[in-house]
Each structure stands twice: as structure tokens, then as C-alpha cells.
């Protein structure tokens, strides 16, 4: 995935149309807590996994 500007997890989620309250984000095999979404800047070589939950159960 390519981004033009410096991108935080928050920005990435916005671009993907995902809600920060409904996701699990893992960067390079490490879970990033929600409180760090604004501050964590993504780098070019980062591997990011996002699970976004939908309602129902």
C-alpha cells in the first residue's frame, strides 16, 4: 500500500474507512494498542495486519 504523506495508523484507518474502535492492528507482528494509533507512524517496510470486526453474534 502506498501513502503520499507521513502516515499514522489513525490516518491509515481513515483512508481505509475503518473505525479505530472496531479494529485490531498489528505492525510487524506486534499488537498496537488503540491509544498509540495517533502517534505510531508507519514506515515503508512495515508489515501491517488489520482485523476489522462487524456486529453480530
Amino acid at each position: 500500500m502506498q501513502f503520499e504523506d507521513v502516515t499514522s495508523i489513525t490516518t491509515m484507518l481513515q483512508k481505509l474507512g475503518l473505525s479505530p474502535e472496531k479494529v485490531v492492528v498489528e505492525v510487524n507482528m506486534d499488537i498496537v494498542p488503540k491509544e498509540q494509533f495517533d502517534g505510531r507512524i508507519l514506515n515503508e517496510e512495515d508489515t501491517i495486519e488489520v482485523v476489522s470486526f462487524v456486529g453480530g453474534g
Binding site: E21, K22, V23, V24, V54, G55, G56, G57
Partner: protein, 284 residues
Amino acid sequence: MKKIPLKLCHLLGEAKMEIFINEKKVILEKPMTAFEIRDTYKTDADVIILNGFIINSDSPLKANDCLTLIKKGEVPSHEELEALLVARHTPGVHDKVKKSVVGIAGLGGLGSNIAVSLARLGIGKLILVDFDVVEPSNLNRQQYFISHIGMPKTNALKELISRINPFVDVITINTYINENNVDECFKDAEIIVEAFDNPISKALLVNNILKKHPEKYIVAASGMAGYYSSNTIITKRRTSKFYLIGDGVSEAKLGCGLMAPRVAIAANHQANKVLQIILGENDL
């Protein structure tokens, strides 16, 4: 039940015969009939099943016949029920299952179905957590009965399980799970099943377990509404101890609600994954 002692057969040329009585192998010293076995083993049996069929008149037994003697409504003893489970799953499997402690967060469509499947398997201990009460609208997909309407789901499910397998140790916690109590709720569970319906709660629980309890397994679910293809409900391993079940997209909403078949499919994907983890077959 009396056991027929094994003795050398002194009778002229009559061979010993092996049959199964309530799934236990028994060697008969002489030919016997079904009713004679009933009179020896379980005189109060009122249903006799021979090789899968109920019989109302006596029948001589042949080698390898399977006879089941039942007294209607009788609660099996712990030993009997355990023997039946072992016969199905092999002793090695049952041994692991009965030592396991599984926590279930949410006792709705997913949670109630998962709890019932695990109870039937003979799981050792279940920790069931929910704050909700059984409502009539739940009955379209949750395992509750009309007699449970108005009861807290924790109580209703515990009662239901006691009528399936009374030997499962069921701990209930009637509470709304949040960041402050989740650690305490599931401290004894090796495997936690996420069975909420609110996506925010789902994310909260999974993040909490992954970050603060990485030694525990979490089996979560997302996307199971409607009557779309059954084949799109899948189990995916996300990290070494985080599994996600569902189609990932079918959100429960007006006009596309939760329906029994697909919810139960997702729930049993979760239950089967729990079983695989217990048996050390994490990659199936």
C-alpha cells in the same frame, strides 16, 4: 450393573461369545437372550435396543451384538457417561478435553451454541460470562427454551447444560465485561471464546487478550448474518494464538439479521477450533 466374571468355559464345546452391553465389551460363557441379559444386568430397563432397533420381544444374541439397556429419564452415572465419551473419542482425546478450562464471553447466538457443543464433548470446565436476559427474540438462534425467558442467560445456560452433561463444571459470571473485569473473569481459562455481538466489545476483548495475556488463546468471530452461503464462513488463523471465524463482512443489521443456521455454523467453527487447540492440532 453386575459384571459376569471371566471363567474358563467348562461346557461341552460351547464357545464363549463377545457382545457389547451399553457399549462395554462383555464375554458371555453361554448363549443368552436379550431379556436374560436385561434380567442379569439392569432389571429396571424399560427400553431395550438391539443393534440399533428397539425390541419388544425377546431375541437370542449373536457374537458382536450391541445391546443397549435404558431406563427412561435416568441420569447416567459419571462413570457411565465418561465411558461412553471415551468410547467415542478414544481415551487420549477425552482425557485432554476433560482437563480443559474454556471461557466464553457472551452467551447469545454464538456463545450458547458453543457452550452446548463443548458440554456435549465433555469439556472439563466452562466459564460463562454475560449480563443479558433471555428474550423471546433470542429463540430464533440461541440455544434457550421458552422456559428460560426472563432468566439471566448465565443461569439459563447453566441449567441447560446440567440437562445435557451434568458433569461439566460450569462457573457463571453475570456481568458486563469491560477492561476492568476481563482479567479477573478469565484468569483460569486457557482458551477464551469471543462471542459478543457488539463489534467494539469484540475489538476490546481481542486487543486485551493479545496484549496482556499472550499465553492464552482467543477464538473470535466476525460476520455471520443472513442466509448467504454457508461456505463463506471460514476459520482463519491471524496470529499464533488468535483465530477469527466468520465471513468477515456480513454484519447483523435490519433486513439482514442473524439466523440460526449460519450463526450455528460460525459457533461450531469456533467450538471445533477450541477442540483442535485442546488436542494440540492448532493448524487444522
